[in-house]
C-alpha cells in the first residue's frame, strides 16, 4: 500500500490510510474541528491521488475500527458478500469509480457490486467523485421499498410530510397535515417529531394520524419520531405505527450516546413486523447526518464522510423502508456553509444508494449557518436530478418546532412538475381522485386545505 506521492517538487506522504481518507475529503468544517482535514488544497489533491491507487483489499485489510472493537464494524463486515468481493478486491478506487460511471454499468450491476463493498470502500470512491459524478451515478439506481405503499420508482419524487407543532397539539398538527396533503405531500410518510418524548404523547399522535389516514383513505404510512424505546412502548400498548424510527450513527459509541445498540434496533424491527400496522415487508426508518459522531465525541479520528457511510452500512442490515440524511441540520461546526451542505447532500445520497438503501434527504439549514433558502432549493434540484427517493417538506419550509428550514410543500410540487416527475403511483391515484393533482401536476383543489372539511 503506497501512502506517498510527489506533486512537482513537493513530496506528500501520509502515515496511515485513515489520514489519506480524511485529507481526501472536500473541505468540511467538521473535519477541521476534528483536526484531521488537509492543510492545503494541494495536500487534499495529493491525498485523492494516493487514494485512487489504493485497492479494495487494502481497505478491507486495514480497518479503522475492527469488528472486535466496534459492533457497527461487525454488522457491516458480516454483510459483505465474499464471492462478489473476491471478484473485485484487486480493483483500485480509480477503477471502481470508472466502473460505476461506465455506460455499460447500470442499476443491476451497481446493485451487484454493492453487496461486495463495505462502507469504507463506498466512502473512498465518493471522495474521488465530482458533484456531477455523484448525481449521475446515483441516478442509475432504482431502490423500491414497501411499507403500506411502494415508493422509489424512477420518475417519482416522494415526500415526508412533517406537520410538527411546538406543543404536540393534535389539532395544530392536523391543520398542517391537511395543508400539506393539499399540495400532494406525504406519500413516503406522515412523520411527526414529538416535543414530549412520552408514551402518552406518542400514542396520541399515532392515533390521530392513523385515524385521519383511514377517514380519508390515504394510501401512505405514519410514524412518530420519538426515541425508539418510547415508540416500542407505544406499540406494545396498542398504538398504530406503520414503522419505527431511530436516529443512528456510524460507531457503536456514538450509538450508545443516542441510547441504542444493534440489538435494540433488531428488537424494534421484530416488534414492528409483529405488532406494527404497516404491511411491509419494510418497517424501519433511520435518520443520519454528517457530524453526529464527532458531536458525541465518538469519532476515533475518522473523517465524517466515512463515518456517514458506515451509517448506511449499519442501516442496510435492517432492510429499512426509508433512510434520510438530515444534511445541514446540526450546524456550522460540521458543515459551514451552503457549499459544504450541497456537497454533503450529494455524497450522502450517493453513498446511501450505493449501499442499496432507499435514500432520501432532509434538505435543510439552520439559522446559524451561512446558507439561505435559495441554496437548499439548488440542492433540491440537484437531488431530484440524482433520483432521490424522497425529501422532507414543512409549511413554507419552516419547522416551527425543530427551529430550522427545510423544503416547502410548494417546493416538492415544483420539483415534480419541473422534472416531469410525480409522487408514488398509488398516492398519485388518490391525489387525482381528490382533485389535488390533475394530469400529473397540481390541480383545481391544490393548496386548498378546506378540501378536508
Amino acid at each position: 500500500m503506497k501512502l506517498k506521492t510527489t506533486l512537482g517538487s513537493e513530496v506528500y506522504s501520509f502515515t496511515e490510510l485513515k489520514e489519506v481518507f480524511a485529507k481526501a475529503n472536500e473541505e468540511k468544517s467538521g473535519d477541521r474541528l476534528a483536526g484531521i482535514a488537509a492543510k492545503t488544497v494541494q495536500e487534499r489533491i495529493a491525498a485523492k491521488m494516493v487514494l485512487s491507487d489504493i485497492t479494495l483489499a487494502d481497505i478491507r485489510s486495514n480497518p479503522f475500527l475492527t469488528a472486535d472493537e466496534d459492533e457497527v464494524s461487525a454488522v457491516i463486515e458480516g454483510d459483505v458478500n465474499e464471492t462478489i468481493y473476491r471478484n473485485m478486491k484487486n480493483w483500485s478506487i480509480a477503477e471502481l469509480r470508472e466502473y460505476i460511471l461506465s455506460n455499460e454499468t447500470g442499476d443491476r450491476e451497481l446493485k451487484r457490486i454493492s453487496k461486495g463493498l463495505n462502507s469504507e470502500m463506498i466512502a473512498a470512491v465518493t471522495k474521488l467523485m465530482s458533484n456531477l459524478d455523484l448525481v449521475h451515478a446515483a441516478n442509475k439506481m432504482e431502490v423500491l421499498t414497501t411499507c403500506n405503499i411502494t415508493i422509489g420508482h424512477k420518475g417519482t419524487l416522494s415526500s415526508r410530510l412533517q406537520p410538527n407543532h411546538p406543543t404536540d397539539n393534535v389539532d395544530g398538527m392536523i391543520a398542517s397535515l391537511k395543508d400539506g396533503l393539499s399540495y400532494g405531500i406525504g406519500d413516503a410518510l406522515i412523520g411527526i417529531n414529538p416535543v414530549d418524548d412520552s408514551v402518552e404523547s406518542v400514542k396520541r399522535l399515532l392515533h390521530a394520524t392513523h385515524d385521519f389516514m383511514n377517514d380519508w383513505n390515504i394510501p401512505t404510512q405514519n410514524c412518530v419520531l420519538a426515541h425508539v424505546t418510547t415508540q416500542m412502548k407505544a406499540i406494545q400498548q396498542g398504538a398504530p405505527a406503520d414503522m419505527i424510527f431511530q436516529s443512528i450513527a456510524g460507531t457503536e459509541a456514538a450509538n450508545r450516546s443516542f441510547g441504542i445498540s444493534a440489538e435494540l434496533i433488531a428488537e424494534a424491527n421484530e416488534l414492528a413486523k409483529k405488532q406494527g400496522t404497516g404491511s411491509g415487508p419494510q418497517h424501519m426508518y433511520f435518520e443520519t447526518g454528517q457530524g453526529s459522531e464527532l458531536s458525541a465525541e465518538a469519532h476515533y479520528g475518522i473523517d465524517q464522510v466515512t463515518l456517514e457511510s458506515r451509517n448506511y452500512g449499519f442501516a442496510r442490515h435492517y432492510d429499512p423502508y426509508i433512510v434520510n440524511t438530515v444534511v445541514g441540520f446540526i450546524g456550522p461546526e460540521y458543515l459551514y456553509n451552503s457549499k459544504q451542505v450541497i456537497r454533503a447532500g450529494l455524497e450522502d445520497h450517493f453513498m446511501g444508494k450505493l449501499h442499496g438503501i432507499p435514500m432520501g434527504v432532509d434538505i435543510c439549514y439552520t439559522n446559524h449557518i451561512k446558507a439561505d433558502q435559495n441554496d437548499i432549493e439548488d440542492l433540491g434540484v440537484l437531488l431530484t436530478a440524482a433520483g432521490v427517493n424522497f425529501i422532507i417538506a414543512t409549511p413554507m419550509g419552516d419547522d416551527c418546532m425543530l427551529n430550522y428550514q427545510s423544503m416547502s410543500y410548494h417546493d416538492v410540487a415544483t420539483l415534480n412538475q419541473t422534472f416531469g416527475k410525480t409522487p408514488a403511483p398509488v398516492f398519485l391515484e388518490w391525489l387525482e381522485k381528490m382533485g389535488i393533482y390533475e394530469n400529473g401536476r397540481l390541480g383545481r383543489n391544490a393548496g386548498n386545505a378546506a378540501l378536508f372539511s
Binding site: S29, P163, H165, P166, T167, N169, V170, D171, G172, M173, I174, A175, S176, D179, Y183, V195, D196, S198, V199, E200, D215, W216, H227, T230, R256, S257, F258, S295, A296, G331, E333, Y336, T366, N367, H368, Q373, P395, M396, G397, D398, C400, M401, L402, N403, Y404, Q405, H410, T414, W430, K433, G435, R441, N445, A446, G447, N448, A449, A450, L451, F452
Partner: protein
C-alpha cells in the same frame, strides 16, 4: 415519563391554555417582530383567497375533536365551494398552529408576499443567533457570570468543544462561590440564543426554585455561563459534585420563535457522561411550553430523577 408526570404537565398546559393567555409567538417583541402571514395583495390567481388574518392565535387542545365520519375520496369537495366558507375553514386551521399554512400559491410556487415575509423572518432569525444577555437580568436573579474557553461568537459556532469547557478562572470562581455537592445545581447559559434567556429565564427560574422549595429539595449556588454548550454540565459536575444538574440554555433560533429555551437535566453528570443519560424539556417559550409551567414541571422531574438516582435512558430502564 410516568403517567403522573404526564398528567401534571398536561393539566398545567391545558389550564394555561384554557385561560387563553398564550399569545402568538414572537408577536410584540421589539426587534424580531415576526408576522406569520401578512395581508397579501389580491392577485389575479384564483387558487386561494389571500389570507386575511396576520395573527393566527395559537390555541391548544389535548385531543382531536369528535371523529369525523368516513369520507369518500371518490367525491371530493367540489372546487366551486363558496370562497367565504373555504376561507373561513382555512382561517380556523391557521389559528391552531404557528406554522405557515394556508398561504396560497402562484402555480406551484408561493405567492410573492409569503415568500418575501419568509425571507424577512430568516433575516431576523439570523440576527437573533448568539447575542449577549443583559446584565440586568443576571443581577435581578442574583446570578454571577463565568466564561467558557470560547473567545468570541465565531469561535463559539465553530468550536463546540471549547463551549464544553470552563475557563480556568471560571473553575476557580465556581469552586470559591458555589456550595459544594448540593442536591441540585442550576446552571444557565445563552447557548445559541440570548433572547431565550432574556424572555424566559426569570419565569422558569423563579418557578423552578419555588417548586424545588415546595418539594423540600435543596439547591446549590446558581450561576450563568456565557457561550456554553449542553455538555459543559459534565465539567461543572466534576467540580461541584451535585446530584442533579439542570441547565437552562437557549436553543438555536427558529423563524417562528427565536426565544425558545431548553432545560437539559442529568443525574450526576461527570466528564465522560453520555448524551443518552441526559434528558431534555424543550420548546419553552410563550408559544410552546409556557415558562412558569415549565419551571414547576422541572421541579417534579428533578424529584423523580433524585428518587430513581438516574436520568435519560437509564431512568427509563429503571422505571420499567
Amino acid at each position: 415519563m410516568n403517567e403522573q408526570l404526564i398528567q401534571t404537565i398536561t393539566k398545567l398546559v391545558v389550564e394555561k391554555l384554557k385561560s387563553n393567555e398564550v399569545s402568538q409567538p414572537s408577536a410584540g417583541t421589539a426587534d424580531v417582530q415576526i408576522k406569520l402571514h401578512s395581508k397579501q395583495a389580491t392577485g389575479a390567481l384564483t387558487e386561494l383567497p389571500p389570507p386575511e388574518n396576520p395573527n393566527g392565535k395559537v390555541t391548544f387542545h389535548q385531543t382531536t375533536s369528535a371523529k369525523p365520519e368516513k369520507k369518500s375520496a371518490v367525491h371530493p369537495q367540489p372546487a366551486e365551494k363558496t370562497i367565504s366558507k373555504q376561507e373561513e375553514f382555512i382561517e380556523e386551521l391557521k389559528k391552531k398552529t404557528p406554522s405557515r399554512i394556508g398561504v396560497g400559491r402562484a402555480g406551484s410556487r408561493p405567492k410573492t408576499n409569503t415568500w418575501l415575509q419568509f425571507r424577512l423572518d430568516h433575516a431576523a432569525a439570523v440576527d437573533a443567533v448568539y447575542g449577549e444577555v443583559p446584565d440586568k437580568i443576571l443581577h435581578q436573579l442574583d446570578l454571577f457570570q463565568v466564561q467558557t474557553r470560547v473567545k468570541d461568537k465565531e469561535e463559539y459556532i465553530r468550536r463546540p468543544d471549547l463551549g464544553r469547557k470552563l475557563s480556568d478562572e471560571a473553575k476557580e470562581l465556581i469552586k470559591k462561590r458555589c456550595a459544594f455537592s448540593p442536591s441540585v445545581q442550576i446552571v444557565t447559559s445563552n447557548g445559541l440564543s440570548a433572547k431565550a434567556i432574556e424572555e424566559n429565564l426569570e419565569d422558569v427560574y423563579l418557578s423552578l426554585v419555588q417548586s424545588l422549595g415546595n418539594l423540600g429539595i435543596e439547591t446549590g449556588t446558581p450561576f450563568y455561563v456565557d457561550k456554553g454548550r449542553v455538555a459543559l454540565m459534565d465539567e461543572i459536575g466534576d467540580v461541584l459534585q451535585p446530584d442533579v444538574v439542570v441547565m437552562l440554555i437557549g436553543e438555536r433560533p427558529g423563524l417562528v420563535s427565536a426565544e425558545s429555551l431548553s432545560a437539559y437535566l442529568c443525574y450526576q453528570p461527570r466528564i465522560g457522561t453520555i448524551e443518552a443519560d441526559r434528558m431534555v424539556v424543550s420548546n419553552i417559550h410563550k408559544g410552546g411550553i409556557p415558562p412558569v409551567e415549565a419551571g414547576a414541571y422541572l421541579g417534579t422531574l428533578i424529584q423523580k430523577i433524585l428518587k430513581y438516582e438516574a436520568s435519560g435512558v437509564s431512568l427509563v430502564k429503571k422505571e420499567g
